[in-house]
């Protein structure tokens, strides 16, 4: 049996109790995300570097140099990362950096703070800087500044949205009310103490932006699942609901299986994205039941909710959100009965199977079709096939990802929106097509003629229509 990890968060949940903001909260977070709460600064730094090393966009060599502490060369390789994110307080104190160590970038943060306030002094706001392939984007969300430095080709709007996600992640740990109050009391406050341990989620969010289209599409990715199986899962989790429950959901590898919600409250995609990021961002949840306070910014940015998270199979997790901090044991019990029923009715196997074997474009059978993204505007959900053909290769996958981002951005440009965007390069052809009910981004082999593209795209639309009830969650259970 798994040993439940209980995170003692009783103090910080009481919003009126301000003394809790310092010690208790940070130490308890640490205990949940690392095995050793008394680890030294050095060890923590090392762990962070290891964490960053695994998804570093510059050579591993560079990372090694940094550990050895060679400032000069270390700094220059640090600069070469493709996308930096910085969070700093309006006093110029570093809060978080995607790469490297916050304490070593304080002079850079000082410069950023000075530039931002120069514009503020003249009643203006700096938004972005373009320098060659680099783009610098600034977002000010009192009392914090968020800055992206990127050479990924992403647009101002996309980087700004990503910075807002980072902001929401901070809110989800602290709530906006706490955040404001802390800096009202002490402008010079070092927020790192309070975030203690939750930086992993900022780190993983930063990585996820370039792996998961949910953020860009502001829609939920749904696991393709036989309609009857999904209905079964829905009815299982609708049974025996615990008191004070807000939401309950089953998630398979970042794809939603089903969601139980109150009739009057739907869940904002952005809140769900933060939740999904928590699931994938830390391995803690894989090994034990967890009970953690959490703020869903779009639901209510001022208060905490409580999340019960548990993996019931490899990559399949159950998430329950309650308004009461004392519901852990009830939820844990409920989870056990749900899991049992799901196993008995064999639906859990179906889910794992569907999650392991994503559908491919071959299933559609449209000639020349390589990949696609389809967003149903009505359901705020999207679907896409697994990668096949050229996109099994990592390099091609990354190019495709960027291409999708580019097309999306061009078509959603607020000043000049487009209905159709056709782009041909030597590698592939992409067609973006937006109507009142759907958005389709479809990729074809280079050399496919325009009439063939149009007919294949139509064939794809017919296939999606036919398979709508397995590709999307058309009606989720409510109470």
């Amino acid at each position: 049996m798994q040993e439940p990890i209980l995170i003692q968060q009783s103090d910080s949940t009481t919003l009126s109790d301000q003394t809790s903001l310092t010690g208790a909260a940070s130490s308890s977070y640490e205990s949940s995300y690392s095995s050793n709460s008394n680890m030294s600064e050095q060890v923590k730094n090392y762990n962070k570097l290891r964490r960053q090393g695994s998804r570093s966009s510059v050579l591993v060599e560079a990372g090694k140099k940094r550990i050895n502490g060679t400032t000069e060369s270390g700094m220059s390789s640090w600069v070469q990362h493709k996308k930096h994110f910085f969070i700093l307080s309006s006093a110029g104190k570093p809060v978080w950096t995607r790469y490297g160590d916050e304490s070593r970038i304080s002079s850079l943060m000082g410069v950023i703070q000075a530039i931002i306030s120069f514009f503020q002094d003249s009643g203006d706001t700096i938004k972005s800087i373009n320098a060659g392939n680099h783009k610098f984007v600034f977002v000010h969300k009192e009392p914090l500044y968020y800055v992206a430095v990127s050479k990924t080709g992403e647009s101002d709007v996309q980087l700004r949205d990503q910075l807002l996600y980072l902001h929401n992640q901070i809110i989800s740990v602290l709530t906006s009310a706490q955040l404001t109050r802390i800096f009202e009391q002490r402008v010079n406050f070092d927020l790192r103490r309070l975030l203690g341990g939750t930086e992993v989620f900022l780190d993983s969010l930063a990585t996820l932006f370039n792996k998961d289209h949910s953020f860009m599409l502001s829609a939920l990715q749904v696991l393709r699942l036989n309609k009857s199986v999904r209905e079964q899962v829905g009815s299982i989790i609708s049974n025996g609901r615990v008191k004070d429950l807000l939401y309950a959901m089953i998630v398979a590898n970042g794809r939603l299986v089903t969601l139980l919600r109150p009739r009057r409250h739907s869940l904002h995609p952005s809140d769900l994205h933060l939740l999904f990021n928590m699931l994938t961002g830390s391995t803690t949840f894989h090994t034990a039941e967890s009970w953690t306070p959490l703020c869903l910014p779009k639901f209510n940015s001022k208060g905490f909710l409580h999340a019960y998270i548990c993996y019931i199979a490899k990559d399949v997790s159950i998430v329950m959100i309650s308004t009461d901090k004392d519901r852990f044991f009830e939820l844990s019990e409920w989870k056990s009965s749900i899991t049992e029923t799901m196993k008995k009715k064999e639906v859990l196997d179906h889910i794992t199977e569907a999650s392991d074997q994503l559908y491919t474009t071959e299933t559609v059978g449209a000639p020349g079709l390589l990949h696609f993204l389809y967003k149903s505007k009505i359901h705020v959900q999207f679907t896409c096939p697994g990668f096949t053909g050229p996109y099994i290769e990592d390099m091609n996958q990354k190019r495709l990802y960027k291409l999708y981002q580019h097309v999306y951005d061009r078509m959603h440009c607020r000043a000049r929106p487009l209905k159709l965007y056709y782009h041909d390069s030597e590698q592939e052809i992409i067609l973006g097509w937006i109507t009142s009910s759907f958005e389709l981004y479809v990729v074809f082999k280079h050399g496919t003629s325009k009439p063939n593209i149009i007919s294949s795209a139509n064939q794809l639309l017919r296939w999606i229509k036919k398979n709508e009830d397995s590709l999307f969650i058309l009606d989720s259970p409510v109470f």
Binding site: I126, I129, N130, R416, D424
Partner: protein, 600 residues
């Protein structure tokens, strides 16, 4: 591109005027941080500063200081390409470093839209929208590049002026050039910025036999008068001929300058004409400082002497030039004005009537990167030339470039008969015949045209030869006008080609249902194939064209080596509602066929 404008509550607004205010230049400056030796004389780094409002010295320093801070900050991450532009809620800052250490920097106040909106309680409130997305970065950067291009043409490199002369001279020259130049730009006029800045090309007509004859004439001028390079433009300012020794980059700068001179010349006799013009090649009227620098060395009276004598020069061949001939000139003159959208047709008629062959302009000192035979290996980057500008009665505009250090250069300037002799030389070499033949050839080409019907407009740009053709700005009653949004969308396409590797085709359809499509073709294998096609077409339609000889063909192929900069771009705008993707594709195909006829 950047996100669209933001909305702000009315509290900050001091002028509650409803409607749209265009973007305006807030300030422009030229600075070089290395000129300030110590903390005390930081203001020494500012070589020139001009602003919409009078600004105290400390504010200027603050602005320049911020500019440097932004450049330094961005170069920490992007050392090779520091800040090019900064978007803020209300302004756009633009940076351009044409020579190491020298910065042209300007700040543009964004256009503003003020409107009355009802909030969710039904209460009226004033909303101010800053129109960030209306100001295209590529377009405004091109303004600074263009300014520097013309400054360099007239003054040489900033570094050289600073080294050879001194800071005060440099400051003076910068002020002389930029004080009027920078204020003439209307940042709302995308058409001007696109066709003179973003696509800084040279419309070129390719002639065959005529070019051969001109080459012989060019050769003889070089031998007898020490003319290093020749450039010839026709009445529409299309390039007719250039010496092989004159680089296209120089042709581009020179052509713009010559156009400007021509316009000023006409403007001098047409008072109070509207200054704005939508012609592709023309920028608003301005005065160039080059005149002044020249008159310092050359007596004005002498030049006037020449012009009066020129009108008295007799030549038997053109003595019989009757009234009809002159009418012809006037017609052309009018056409030209129509093209430039200058309604007043009563132009320099009188002056033209006086001169029999043509007229010379004042001689100007210029700096080009093209080398003359006199140039030495380790010489400066630019060579100094004297520009002799001659407008023939056929409206061909000749630019003769004489190296200013040539032995005969000073004599040429001071000789009262030199220009007459030059003109006689041209006449003796059958200039009139060549001119007539050129005109006929051009008319044949023009007949074929680039018109694709009233629903389509197009634009063609060749990045290797700098050739360009456009029907985007044509004013036609039966057709649509290109809106600013269309231009912006076209620039978005240009950006796709520049930023996404290997992009060959982009088709877009806006929510307003117009199409803008673009195609970029990399010339990987020279132009042999296309020339073959034009050859067959040419034979079928025109008697004047002869198939190119083997030599010519080879020359062209070797001239155009495979390179990432060797590409052509075609853009098509379609404003018809029911146009399909296939229609657009078909029209682009037609367009490329007629371009082969026109430009090859």
């Amino acid at each position: 591109m950047s996100s669209s404008s933001s909305t702000v509550a009315s509290t900050t607004i001091t002028m509650p005027q409803l409607g749209r205010t265009p973007p305006t230049l807030s300030y422009f400056c030229v600075y070089n941080p290395s000129l300030a030796q110590s903390e005390e004389n930081t203001k020494d780094q500012i070589l020139y500063y001009t602003a919409k409002k009078v600004v105290p010295a400390d504010v200027k320093m603050k602005q320049v200081g911020l500019a440097q801070a932004l450049v330094n900050f961005s170069s920490a991450f992007s050392p090779s390409h520091p800040a090019q532009n900064v978007h803020s809620q209300k302004n756009r800052l633009v940076f351009y470093q044409p020579e190491p250490g020298f910065w042209l920097h300007m700040c543009i106040e964004l256009g503003v839209l003020r409107k009355q909106v009802k909030d969710n309680k039904g209460k009226e409130k004033l909303v101010t929208e800053y129109l960030d997305s209306q100001l295209n970065d590529r377009a405004i950067e091109s303004v600074l590049k263009l300014g520097y291009e013309q400054f360099k043409l007239l003054n040489g490199m900033m570094t050289s002026i600073l080294d050879i002369l001194d800071r005060r001279v440099l400051m003076h020259r910068i002020e002389e050039f930029f004080s009027e130049w920078i204020w003439q730009w209307d940042f709302d006029r995308l058409d001007q910025m696109i066709f003179s800045g973003v696509f800084n090309g040279v419309p070129t007509i390719r002639y065959k036999d005529d070019t051969k004859r001109l080459k012989i004439l060019d050769q003889s001028l070089q031998e007898e008068y020490g003319v290093a390079h020749v450039m010839i433009l026709d009445e529409k300012r299309d390039l007719v001929y250039r010496s092989n020794t004159l680089s296209m980059v120089d042709v581009r700068a020179l052509r713009r300058y010559v156009c400007q001179m021509q316009e000023n010349h006409q403007g001098a006799t047409e008072q109070d004409k509207p200054t704005s013009s939508s012609s592709a090649s023309s920028v608003k009227k301005d005065k160039f400082s080059g005149f002044k620098s020249f008159t310092r060395t050359l007596s004005n009276t002498h030049i006037l002497d020449y012009f009066s004598s020129s009108s008295n020069t007799k030549d038997k061949k053109t003595d019989d030039s009757s009234g009809t001939e002159e009418e012809g000139i006037d017609e052309e003159q009018q056409q030209e004005q129509e093209q430039n959208q200058q309604s007043d047709a009563s132009s320099s008629e009188e002056q033209l009537a006086e001169s029999v062959h043509g007229e010379f302009h004042e001689i100007v000192r210029l700096y080009l990167s093209s080398r003359s035979e006199l140039a030495m290996e380790e010489q400066e980057l630019l060579e100094e030339y004297l520009l002799v500008l001659y407008k023939h009665k056929s409206n061909l505009i000749w630019s003769f470039l004489i190296p200013s250090f040539a032995d005969g250069a000073d004599e040429f300037i001071s000789s009262p008969t030199a220009l007459t002799e030059l003109e006689n030389h041209l006449t003796n070499h059958n200039l009139d015949t060549i001119a007539t033949s050129l005109k006929e050839d051009k008319d044949t080409k023009q007949d074929k045209g680039l018109s694709l019907g009233k629903h389509f407009r197009c634009f063609y740009y060749d990045n290797a030869t700098l050739n360009m053709r456009s029907t985007l700005l044509e004013q036609r009653k039966d057709s649509f006008t290109i809106s600013n949004d269309m231009f912006l969308q076209l620039l978005d396409l240009k950006n796709d080609f520049e930023t996404l590797p290997n992009t060959t085709e982009v088709y877009t359809r806006s929510t307003g249902n117009y199409w803008i499509a673009g195609q970029r073709v990399y010339n990987k294998h020279g132009r042999k194939q296309e020339r073959r096609r034009s050859q067959t077409n040419g034979d079928a339609t025109s008697d004047h064209q002869e198939p190119p000889t083997e030599d010519e063909e080879d020359e062209i192929v070797t001239e155009r080596k495979r390179s990432p900069d060797d590409y052509t771009e075609m853009y098509l705008v379609a404003a018809k509602k029911d146009t399909s993707l296939a229609d657009v594709e078909e029209t682009i195909r037609k367009m490329s066929v007629s371009l082969v006829d026109l430009c090859m």
